[in-house]
Every structure is written in C-alpha cells, then in structure tokens.
Amino acid sequence: MIEQVFRDQWGRVLASLIGYFGDFDLAEEAAAEAFAVAARRWPSDGMPDNPAGWLVTTARNRAIDRLRRDRVLAAKLHLLAVSESDDTMRETSGIPDERLELIFTCCHPALAIEAQVALTLRGVAGLTTEEIARAFLVSGETMKRRLTRAKTKIKTAGIPFKVPPANLLGERLNAVLAVIYLIFNEGYSRETGLAAEAIGLDRVLVTLLPGEPEPQGLLALMLLHDARRNARFDDEDLVLLKDQDRSRWDWEQIAEATTILDRAISRARRPYTLQAAIAALYTEDPPDWLQIAALYTELADLTGSPVMNLNRAVAVAEADGPAVALALVDTLDLGDYQYWHSTRAELLRRLGRDTEAAAAYREALARARTVPERRFLEKQIATLSPS
C-alpha cells in the first residue's frame, strides 16, 4: 500500500524538489531520504492527508539542514535563502505539479536517447536503477553510469527545467512521446512491466497538457495494443491478430481508448492518433480494410515512413488480394527490415509460391530479435511444402 503511494508520488515529489533546488542529484537524495523517513513513520503514525506535500516538506527540510551543516555546499545556500522565507509551505498545503518540467528535462534532445529513456523511468516513473537495468538487459553498474552521466550533463550543459516555449513545444513534445512509445514497445516485445509504466507516463502528460491532442492519441494507441496483451501469446508462442481469442481482449480498456481517440482525432490528425484509429479498426470483426489502407496512406504522407506503406500493403492484401499487395511491397526499399521480409513471405505463401516464401521467411528469421518471433517464423517455414 505504502509502496504504491511511493511509486505514485515519486515523480511529483522529485519534480518539485528539482524545481526548488535546481539540482537533480540533490533533489534525488533529498527525496530518497524523505521516502525513507515515511517508510519508518507512516506504518505507525498513519499516512498524512497530503502525502506528496508531506514528502516534499520533509525532503526540503532535511536537505536544508544537511546543506547548512555541509560547508562545502555553502555556496548553494544563497539559493536557499530566497525560498526559505516561504515558510507557509506546510504539510497540507498544495505543491505545484512540476512533473511536466521534469519530463521535458529528461527527454531533452541534448541527451542521448538511452539516457532520455532511463532518466524518464527513474525521474518521472520512479523505477529504481536496478529495475531499469533489468528491463534493458544491462548491468546495474552500466545503468548507474548512464544516469550519472546524464545528470551531470543536465547540470553542466544547462539543460533547462522548464516547459519549452511555444515555438519549441511541438517538436519537444514529439520527442517526449517518442520516448514514452519506445518504453512501451520495450515492454511490449518482452514482459517487463514497462508497458504499464509508459501508459502511466502518458496519462501524466494528458492530464498536464489537456490542450494537446497527440498525447491522447498515443494513450489511445497504447491502451488498444495493451488491451490485447493476454491474447498475444499462446504459452510462449506469438499469436497473430487474426488468430487471437477476442474474448481475452480487455474490452473495457478498448472502450476507454476509443473514447479518448474520438476526442483526439476530432481535433488533429497526427501520427499517433492515426495509428490509434487503425488499432481501433483492427478490433472490429471483420476489420474495415479499405479504411485501414486509407489511414496508412495518410500516415505515410504525414511521416514519410516506408514502414507505413508496408502496413498499408497488409491491409491492401485483405481488401484486394495478395498479388496487388505484393506488387506494392516490392516497390519499398526496406531490405533491412524484418517485417518487410515476413510480410513478403506471407504474401508469397498465399500466392502458393512456397519456395520464395520460405526464402523470405529465412531472411526475416535472420533479423528477428526475440525468441517468440523466431519460433513463429520457424513454424511458418515448417508449414511450407518443399518444392
């Protein structure tokens, strides 16, 4: 119970402390100390009415005490002197929600993408360094170094703790959404719990940036994918969308996603929102393939991504047959892409060109990253009749 509160409050508390101290490390230490005090006291004293406020106040007071004692850090006191008069900040008073500032700091383009991901999970989602390391299959030491280097860069290079001005907001928001979606996909291809973290992060964005439709589009997209999580695997085996047991889909979540999507798409037809619209169409039985193909065309125009054209070909195969689709696929320059090969393979198989299909599956297999994907491809090859 307390653990859940900790997880929920970490981002807010840390963000508020960074805003106050202007220093990521100092804020993190202070937050950790306050959470430790809470872990000792709350079980016997009971939880305060405003846990976040309590944690922030405790963290500030502890950190200020420590700074006063620590002469090496005396230089920082001039900064504290200003805000210290702010004694009205009591346990029950509201603290400003500065998670948005924190998210934009963590996802600043001057940081490497791996660092953006790690910082966001540590800073905003409140995962421990060890948890992040496990999710990304690196050692705890490596992850600790990555985070330390990123925090040093924030400080030394002057990466701001603020919501970007209007002229930068769109582009920076896209960077944040990309980080969140990357976290989601990392959780989606393997069972890491990261999918839920990504959804939680995006919910924060949706709450704090209600005027922006694209975070809502991404939320709808992730909720739709995630609603199918229980049907995606049969034991260890990957199950294709068309073969999934629809009764195992989370229909309540799909309904929530559809409501969010309808609101978002009426305001702007941006990439994540359009992908969510496609994911929503896929939940219908049978899906409206013509409309899906049209949406992929719109996406390809918007993003210039050949992958969208590949996806369009998959929809075209359902609407107009595999021959038309294969002709489309063969115009795309995606030879390094696993799903280009597996899509070709599937179309060739449906056209009865088994030898070519097997060769294409093997190309896909050589590029597959996860065990279930490899096993799926091997199974496909086994079902083809050798010529």
Binding site: H108, A110, T156, A157, G158, I159, P160, K162, P164, L168
Partner: protein
Amino acid sequence: MQYALLIYRDETVAQGETEEEQAQVTRDYWALRSEPEMIGGAGLHPVETATTVRSQDGQLLITDGPFADTKEVFAGFYLIEADDIDRAAEVAGKIPAVRFGGVIEIRPVIETPS
C-alpha cells in the same frame, strides 16, 4: 552560464555563390557579434595555415597542419552568455556556416572561480 559555440565547416564549400552573397555572409558573421548574449569570438584563417605543437621525447615538436585531418575543420567560435542550452542552440542556429552544411558544437565553459 557561458557557452562556446565551435564552428566546424568544410572549407572547400563556398559560403555563398556570388561575391555579393559571400560579402553578405561575412556581414552576417559580424552581425552576430551584436546579439545580446555575445561575449566574444574569433574567425580563423583557413586550415592550411595551421601549425601544430606537441611534446615528443621532452622536445617541442612543431609541425605543419591541423591537429586532425578531417573534412570539416575548426573554423572559429563565438563565446556567449545564455540562460540555458535552448537559448545557446538558438544563437548557434543563426551562425551562417549552418546554412552551408557546417556544424556547431556547443560546449559549456568552465566557470572562473570567484
């Protein structure tokens, strides 16, 4: 805080097609000097005039040429005072070299102990 904006460009690529255009580019470099953030800076003569000094076996070794033999060479820098890296990047984006395929490296400057 202070940032150095280091300009790297391919000196074989002209900055402007006509003499007039090139003169305008030179004026643009100078105009940047009057940005409110500007502290200082310098444009450098072409890399063929570079000389390198290093220590070898306790002796100073002086050789012709730049430190690194790369297509893009260090061509000059500005020193600015800016609130944060976003503002520094905005000033960097105005440096004419960027329009001609050049790259600006932003480096925070170590504060002088007071």
